[in-house]
C-alpha cells in the first residue's frame, strides 16, 4: 500500500508557522496501516505541537481528528466542521489525501505532515519495502513476480547490468544496507519455475508515458459510472 514517513518535527513547525489554530488530520486507511498517520499518530503530533507551543509561550490551539479516508469527499464532509475552525490543517494523509483536502477546503491552508514515499509491502510487522512503481504497464507476469521498475536500481528491462555481484546490487540504500539484484532474483525464480526462456526475451524499452513520467494520468470505469 501507499506508505509515508512523518516529516521532521522542525519542518512541520515551519509549515505551521504563526497559525493560532491548528488541526492535525489523520487518515485511517493507508497511512494508518503503515503506522504513520492514523488517528493515533494525529493525536500524538497534536500533543507535540501543544507542548512545543507551551514551552515557547505561544498560545496555539491544536486539535486532532481523523478521516476514514481523506481522499473521499463524503469522509471529508464528516470533518468539515473542525476544518472550518482551524487556521491551518496539517494532513498526515498520503499526497492524494492532502490534495483532496486542499481541493475541498480550497480557502484553507493545508500542509503536509508526511512525505509520501512509496508503494510498499510489509515484509514483517512495521517494516516496509518498495515493491511497485505504478508504471502503468505491469510486466510481473514475465519477471516471476519481481518488479524490475522499482526493485532494479536502474529499472532495466533486459537482465542485470555489470554491477550485479553475488546476487546483490552495486547500489546500496542511503543507510548503507545491501539490496538484492532484482534481475538475479528474477533469474533464480524463473529457473525454479522452469521458465528460463523468459529471461532471454528481448523486451523493448518501456513506454514510460504510461507511468508518471507521461504527465498526470486518469482512469475511468465507464461501466460503473452512476446513471
Amino acid at each position: 500500500m501507499i506508505t509515508a514517513e512523518r516529516k521532521p518535527f522542525d519542518k512541520i513547525l515551519g509549515l505551521v508557522g504563526e497559525s493560532k489554530k491548528v488541526l492535525v488530520a489523520g487518515c485511517d486507511t493507508c497511512v494508518a496501516v503503515c503506522l504513520t498517520g492514523g488517528e493515533k499518530e494525529a493525536e500524538i503530533l497534536a500533543s507535540e505541537l501543544r507542548i512545543e507551543a507551551g514551552m515557547n509561550g505561544r498560545e496555539t490551539e491544536v486539535e486532532h481528528t481523523s478521516a476514514i479516508r481523506q481522499c473521499e469527499w463524503e469522509y471529508l464532509d464528516l470533518i468539515s466542521d473542525k476544518v472550518d475552525q482551524a487556521d491551518v490543517v496539517v494532513s498526515l494523509a498520503c499526497g492524494i489525501g492532502i490534495q483532496s483536502m486542499a481541493e475541498k477546503f480550497a480557502t484553507k491552508l493545508v500542509v503536509p505532515g508526511v512525505d509520501t514515499n512509496m508503494l510498499g509491502m510489509p515484509l514483517e510487522h512495521a517494516v516496509w519495502l518498495e515493491r511497485c512503481g505504478a508504471c502503468g504497464e505491469c510486466v510481473l507476469g514475465e519477471t516471476a513476480g519481481v518488479c524490475p521498475v522499482v526493485r532494479c536500481s536502474k529499472s532495466l528491462m533486459n537482465g542485470p547490468c555489470g554491477g550485479s555481484h553475488e546476487g546483490k546490487c552495486e547500489v546500496k540504500t542511503p543507510e548503507g544496507e545491501e539490496i538484492d539484484c532484482a534481475w538475479h532474483l528474477i533469474w533464480e525464480r524463473l529457473k525454479a519455475q522452469g521458465r528460463e526462456d523468459l529471461m532471454f526475451v528481448d523486451r523493448p524499452p518501456k513506454n514510460w508515458s504510461k507511468g508518471s513520467s507521461g504527465g498526470p494520468r486518469k482512469m475511468v470505469r465507464v461501466e460503473a459510472r452512476p446513471v
Binding site: D28, A32, V33, E41, H125
Partner: protein
C-alpha cells in the same frame, strides 16, 4: 448523757459455723464518759416477703440462691446483694450482684439457659519459685494519712491516696503472674466486640467425610545446645527472632540492633544446621539454607557495610530458582564458609562472640562477631503429634507423620490426609502444592457429595446506571493509625467532598470492617450513588471485598475505584505528613476523576467442557489422570511411547527400598478399569486451540490418525530427560555411564556392575555451572541410593562419591548417614578443581584430596555421572503450541512460585512432575494430585465467567491492518472472515492492552482502562480545586 457503761467479754468456743462469739465476763463492768453515742447497726433483711413466694426460701436470715446465677428456687425470681447467702456486704458486692442478676434475667427472658458467666473460674496463675526468686523485694508504699490532730476537726478521709509516683511504684510491685488482671478494658474498647473473656474451651461435634492435618512444625529451641550460648549470651539469636528483628512490624521496627547494646552489628555470623543433621535429628530441615540466604541478604540491605559469614556444611538450594538466589547472595558479598563450628564463646566485656572454626585445609581460625544467628531446624509440632495420637495416626522414627512413598498424602488412617511440614520439613511452594493435592484427594473421596452443601450467594439485581450522571461516594480510611497517624484523613475527606460529581465523602476507622461496609451500602442507597471511591490500602488485596459490597448494594462491581493512600503514601512518607496529606488529596482526586468515567462491565457465562486432557503418561500424568477419573471426570491421557510409565519404568528400586513397578502396575490397572479414562499410546498432541473451559485439541498417533478432543483443562506432565554432557569422558569410554544407564544396568544385572571392583560417582556433572547453573534435585539421592546398593551387595568394594553439594534434604538425610556408615567415601569438589578422568588406558580418576593436600589417582571399573536434567524432548514445541513459557532452565514456568505453583499463567493449563522441575517419585505424585486438584476446581463449575477487563474492537473503525493480530502475545485477535474486521474473543483476551496501544486507528478499547480514564487521572492531578 454523761457516760456509757460497758461489760468486758472474752471469746467463747467456736459455734457450728466455726465462729467464736464473745461471752460476757460476769461483773467486769466499766464506764467511758461521753456525750454522744453512735451505734453501728448491722443489717438484716426483712424476710416476711418470702412467705408468700413459693419456691423462695430463706436460709437463716438470707435468701437461698444459686451462688453463680442468683436464681432462687422459683423460676424468674432472683436475689442478690444484701439478700444473698453471704449476708449484707458492701456496695461493690451489691452492684456486682445487680449485674449478675441482670445477666440471669436476660437469659431467663430469652428462654436461654441460665449459665453463669462466672461459673468457670479462670485457671489460677501462680508464679513459680524460680520467677519469684528473681524479683527484688519491695515493701508496700506507705499510704499517707491525714494526721489525727487535723482529722478531729473535719470529715476529711483518713487516707490521702497515693501520688502519681507512688501509685506507679506500687503498681510496679505487681508480679504479673497472670498478665491479665481482668479489668476488661480491652473488651470494653474493642469496637466489634471481638474480645470475649468469658469464652471457654468447648467441644464441637462435626460430621465430615475427610480430614486434612496441617499441624505444621515447631522451631527447634537452640537452648538445648548449650554450647551455642543461646539465652546466655544476649547477642546469640535464633533465626525466628532474627526474622522478627528484620521485619518492619517487629520489635525493633526493622532495625538490626545488637540486643546487648542496641548498636548496629558490623559482623554477623549464621550457623546452619542447628537442630538438624545431628545425633538427635537425623534429617535435614530443608528450608534453613535458603532462609539464611535471605536473612543474610536482608542484613546487607539493612546494614550496608556488613558482610555476613554463613557457616554451613552443604548449601541445600534444591528448589526451583534457589541456586540463582544463592548466587545473588554470593554476589552481594555474603561469605559461605564450609565448616560446622561446635561452640560459641562470649567476650564478657564487649559481649562480642567468638567462633573457632576449622577450614577445609585443616587450619584453625577464630572470628569475632557482633551477633550470631542460629539457623534452627524444624521439628514435628508437638501439638500435631498429640493430635496424631488422638486420631490414631502412626508417626515415623523422626516423629513426623508416617507416610508411604507412593501415597505421600495418606496417613496410616484411611481418609486422614497430612500436608505441609508435619509430613516432612518442607518449604512454602511444596507445601502449597501439597494443599492442592490434599484437596484433590478429598474431592475424589467425596465425589458423590460434590455440590450438596454449597450455596450460591444471591445478589440483588444490578441497577442500570447508563442514563445516570456519575454520582460518586468517597470513603477515606484511617486504617487505625496506619494512615491517620501521617495523613490528615478528615482533610482528605473534606477535599474530596468538593470535587465534581462527589455526592458524599466520609472518613471511617477501618473501611474494610463490616460496619464500614454496611455504611457504604447505606450511603449508596441514601445518596443514590453509582460510583464508589475508597481511599485506603492496596486494591491488590482489598478490591474484591469492596466489589462484593457494591454487588450487595445493587451496583456493578466495576463501578469501583481505589486510591492507595497507605502502602503508597502514609507508610512511605512518614516523615512528611503535610506532603503525605497533599499526596492523598491528589490520589483521591485522580481516583474520583477516573471513577466518573467507569462503566459497568459484565462477565459472560461461558459453558465449559467438563473433561481433561493430560499430556504425558509417566507417573505424574497417570496420577493426575487417575485422580480426575476418580472424581468422575472424563480424561484423555496422551503418551508418546507405546506404554505408560515414563522414566519410572527404568528405576528398579527407590531410595526407601520400594519397587516402583508395583505402583505403576496398580495405577495403570486403575486407569484401564475406569471407563471415564481414555488412553492414547504412541500419540502426541498435534493441534491445540481455544481458551479455558473450551479447548479443542487433536491427538495424532504414529500412523497419522487424528482424533479431535474437546476438553476444559489440560495438564502438562511430559517429564524431563538426561542431558548427556560431554564431560568426564561420557560416551567416549565404555566405563563411564549416567545414572539412568546405571539403573538399567542394575535391572538387567549387567556384569559391568556386578563385577565392578570399584565404582565412582560424580554428582553435579555439568550442573551448577555453564549451561545448567540450576540444581537437578534428584541426582544426589539417586547417587546415594545406588552407592548404598552397590556397597550392600559387596561391602568390600570401594565406592566413591564426588559431589559439589550433598542435597539429601528432608528425611533423605538418613540415607546419606547410612551410606557413610557403610563406608562410602564422599569427596567434595568445586567448579574450580574438578576431578579428571583418564581418556585412555585404565580408567582412573584424579582429584585433589584436601585431607592429604595432594593429588590422588584412583582406579575405577565403573564411573557413574549424575548429569543435568533438562526439559523433555518436545517441550519447546509444546510450549509454543500451548503458548505457555519455558524458563531459562528449560522447564515450564508456573504462574507464581509460591501462590500458584502448579498453574500456568494462562488459565486452564496446569503442570506437574519433572516438566515443572526435576523431582522424586513421591514429590511427583503429590504434585500430580495438586494439578488434578486445581484442574478439578475449574471443572467443578457449571459455567466460567469470562470478560470484564478485556479488549474490544470497534469494527466500524477497524482498518483490518492486522496490527493487533500480529502483536497480541496470546494470538487472540482474528480478522473475522465475514465482516473483514478484527474481532477479539472476550473469553480468551487476557487484558494486557498491547493491541489497544498499537492499533493505529484507536479502534480497540481496553475496558476499565480506557484512554479517557487514564488521561482523566493525569489531568485531575494538575487540576486546581477551590
Amino acid at each position: 448523757m454523761t457516760a456509757i457503761r460497758l461489760q468486758r467479754c472474752k471469746l467463747g468456743e467456736p459455734d457450728e459455723r466455726g465462729r467464736r462469739r464473745p461471752e460476757p465476763i460476769p461483773g467486769a463492768f466499766f464506764e467511758i464518759p461521753c456525750e454522744t453515742v453512735i451505734f453501728a447497726v448491722g443489717q438484716a433483711i426483712v424476710g416476711d416477703f418470702a412467705q408468700g413466694l413459693a419456691g423462695v426460701g430463706l436460709e437463716g436470715d438470707q435468701v437461698k440462691t444459686d451462688d453463680s446465677t442468683l436464681a432462687t428456687g422459683r423460676p424468674g425470681v432472683f436475689a442478690g446483694g444484701d439478700a444473698s447467702p453471704k449476708g449484707p456486704l458492701t456496695a461493690i458486692e451489691a452492684i456486682a450482684a445487680g449485674r449478675k442478676g441482670a445477666a440471669s434475667v436476660h437469659n431467663y427472658l430469652r428462654g436461654e439457659q441460665l449459665v453463669s458467666l462466672w461459673s468457670n473460674p479462670l485457671p489460677e496463675a501462680r508464679p513459680d519459685d524460680a520467677e519469684v526468686k528473681k524479683v527484688t523485694r519491695q515493701e508496700r508504699s506507705p499510704m499517707p494519712e491525714h494526721p489525727g490532730a487535723e482529722r478531729r476537726r473535719n470529715w476529711v478521709e483518713v487516707r490521702e491516696g497515693y501520688t502519681e509516683e507512688q501509685a506507679i511504684a506500687e503498681a510496679k510491685r505487681c508480679l504479673q503472674c497472670a498478665v491479665c488482671s481482668e479489668c476488661m478494658e480491652c473488651a470494653r474498647i474493642c469496637p466489634p466486640k471481638a474480645l470475649i473473656h468469658e469464652e471457654r474451651d468447648s467441644e464441637l461435634d462435626l460430621e465430615v467425610g475427610a480430614v486434612v492435618l496441617a499441624t505444621g512444625y515447631d522451631a527447634y529451641d537452640p537452648g538445648s545446645k548449650g554450647e551455642y550460648g543461646y539465652r546466655r549470651y544476649p547477642n546469640v539469636l535464633s533465626a525466628l527472632e532474627y526474622e522478627r528483628m528484620l521485619s518492619a512490624s517487629g520489635p525493633t521496627i526493622g532495625e538490626v540492633k545488637r540486643p546487648s547494646d542496641g548498636a548496629h552489628p558490623h559482623n554477623v555470623a549464621f550457623i546452619q544446621c542447628v537442630g538438624s543433621r545431628d545425633q538427635k535429628h537425623d534429617y535435614c530441615s530443608s528450608v534453613c539454607c535458603i532462609y539464611a540466604n535471605k536473612q543474610a541478604m536482608l542484613t546487607t540491605d539493612h546494614v550496608p557495610d556488613c558482610s555476613p559469614d554463613v557457616f554451613l556444611m552443604d548449601m541445600r538450594a534444591q528448589g526451583k530458582g534457589f541456586d540463582l538466589f544463592y548466587q545473588r547472595a554470593v554476589d552481594r558479598g555474603v561469605n559461605f564458609i564450609r565448616s560446622r563450628p561446635s561452640a560459641i564463646k562470649e567476650d564478657p566485656l564487649t559481649k562480642d562472640l567468638l567462633i573457632n572454626w576449622e577450614d577445609e585445609q585443616g587450619v584453625l581460625h577464630q572470628n569475632r562477631y557482633d551477633m550470631v544467628v542460629l539457623s534452627v531446624g524444624l521439628e514435628p509440632a508437638r501439638k500435631g503429634q498429640e493430635a496424631a495420637g488422638r486420631l490414631g495416626i502412626a508417626l515415623n522414627r523422626h516423629g513426623f507423620c508416617d507416610l508411604k512413598e507412593f501415597d505421600p498424602l495418606q496417613s496410616s488412617r484411611e481418609g486422614v490426609f497430612v500436608i505441609g511440614p508435619f509430613s516432612e520439613p518442607k518449604d512454602i511452594p511444596d507445601s502449597v502444592a501439597q494443599g492442592s493435592a490434599a484437596a484433590a484427594r478429598v474431592m475424589a473421596q467425596l465425589a458423590d457429595s460434590r455440590g450438596t452443601l454449597t450455596a450460591e450467594p444471591v445478589y440483588p439485581p444490578e441497577r442500570d446506571v447508563s442514563d445516570e450522571e456519575p454520582r460518586v461516594g468517597v470513603f477515606v480510611c484511617h486504617c487505625g493509625s496506619n494512615i491517620a497517624s501521617v495523613v490528615d484523613v478528615k482533610d482528605v475527606a473534606e477535599h474530596a467532598a468538593k470535587l465534581p460529581g462527589v455526592q458524599c465523602s466520609t472518613d471511617t476507622t477501618y473501611v474494610c470492617a463490616n460496619d464500614s461496609l454496611q455504611l457504604i451500602r447505606e450511603k449508596i442507597a441514601e445518596h443514590d450513588l453509582n460510583r464508589v471511591v475508597v481511599a485506603s490500602c492496596t486494591p491488590r488485596t482489598h478490591e474484591p471485598i469492596f466489589q462484593s459490597t457494591l454487588r450487595e448494594a445493587g451496583l456493578n462491581p466495576f463501578l469501583f475505584e481505589m486510591a492507595n493512600i497507605r502502602d503508597q503514601d502514609s507508610w512511605v512518607h512518614k516523615k512528611e505528613p503535610d506532603k503525605a496529606t497533599a499526596k492523598a488529596r491528589d490520589l483521591v482526586r485522580m481516583s474520583v476523576a477516573r471513577a466518573r468515567l467507569l462503566a459497568p462491565l459484565s462477565k459472560i457465562d461461558v459453558p465449559l467442557t467438563h473433561s481433561a486432557l493430560v499430556i504425558g503418561g509417566g507417573i505424574a500424568g497417570m496420577t493426575a489422570a487417575g485422580s480426575l477419573g476418580d472424581m468422575g471426570y472424563e480424561v484423555h491421557l496422551v503418551e508418546r511411547a507405546s506404554q505408560l510409565g515414563g522414566r519410572v519404568l527404568q528405576v528398579g528400586r527407590t531410595i526407601r527400598g520400594n519397587d516402583p513397578a508395583r505402583i505403576l502396575a496398580t495405577l495403570e490397572q486403575r486407569l484401564i478399569d475406569n471407563p471415564n479414562i481414555h488412553i492414547y499410546l504412541d500419540s502426541h498432541l498435534a493441534d491445540f486451540h481455544g481458551f479455558v473451559g473450551n479447548f479443542s485439541s487433536v491427538i495424532e498417533d504414529k500412523d497419522g490418525r487424528r482424533t479431535p478432543v474437546d476438553h476444559g483443562v489440560i495438564i502438562v506432565a511430559i517429564g524431563a530427560r538426561e542431558e548427556r554432557v560431554d564431560l568426564y569422558q561420557l560416551d567416549r569410554r565404555p566405563g563411564v555411564v549416567t545414572e539412568m544407564d546405571l539403573e538399567r544396568m542394575l535391572k538387567e544385572h549387567d556384569p559391568r556392575v556386578t563385577e565392578a571392583g570399584s565404582v565412582g560417582f560424580v554428582l553435579c556433572a555439568g550442573s551448577l555451572e555453564g549451561d545448567h547453573p540450576y540444581c537437578s534435585r534428584v541426582c544426589c539421592q539417586h547417587g546415594v541410593k545406588n552407592a548404598i546398593e552397590l556397597k550392600e551387595r559387596n561391602p568390600s568394594r570401594p565406592v566413591y562419591v564426588w559431589f559439589k553439594e550433598m542435597r539429601t534434604f528432608g528425611l533423605l538425610e538418613e540415607y546419606y548417614t547410612r551410606a557413610r556408615d557403610l563406608g562410602v567415601v564422599f569427596i567434595r569438589y568445586a567448579n574450580g578443581n574438578r576431578p579428571q578422568v583418564s581418556s585412555e588406558g585404565p580408567l582412573t580418576i584424579s582429584y585433589h584430596e584436601t585431607a592429604l593436600n595432594r593429588d590422588v589417582s584412583l582406579p575405577l571399573d565403573l564411573l557413574v555421572l549424575a548429569v543435568p536434567s533438562v526439559g523433555a524432548e518436545g517441550s519447546v514445541d509444546l510450549s509454543k503450541l500451548l503458548k505457555v513459557p519455558l524458563q531459562r532452565d528449560s522447564f515450564f514456568q508456573e504462574a507464581h512460585v509460591k501462590l500458584r505453583p502448579v498453574d500456568c499463567a494462562s488459565e486452564g493449563i496446569f503442570i506437574c512432575g519433572a516438566a515443572h522441575y526435576p523431582k522424586s517419585i513421591d514429590e511427583t505424585i503429590s504434585q500430580a494430585y495438586a494439578a488434578a486438584g486445581r484442574a478439578a476446581a475449574l471443572l467443578a463449575k457449571q459455567v466460567i465467567k469470562a470478560g470484564g477487563v478485556v479488549a474490544e474492537v470497534d469494527q466500524d473503525r477497524c482498518a483490518a491492518c492486522l496490527t493487533c493480530v500480529r502483536v497480541c502475545p496470546y494470538s487472540v485477535p482474528v480478522i473475522d472472515s465475514e465482516v473483514k474486521k478484527a474481532r477479539i474473543e472476550p473469553a480468551t483476551c487476557q487484558g494486557c492492552g498491547v493491541c489497544v496501544s498499537e492499533c493505529p486507528v484507536k479502534a480497540i478499547t481496553l475496558h476499565h482502562y480506557t484512554d479517557a480514564q487514564i488521561l482523566a487521572k493525569e489531568e485531575a492531578l494538575f487540576m486546581e480545586v477551590s
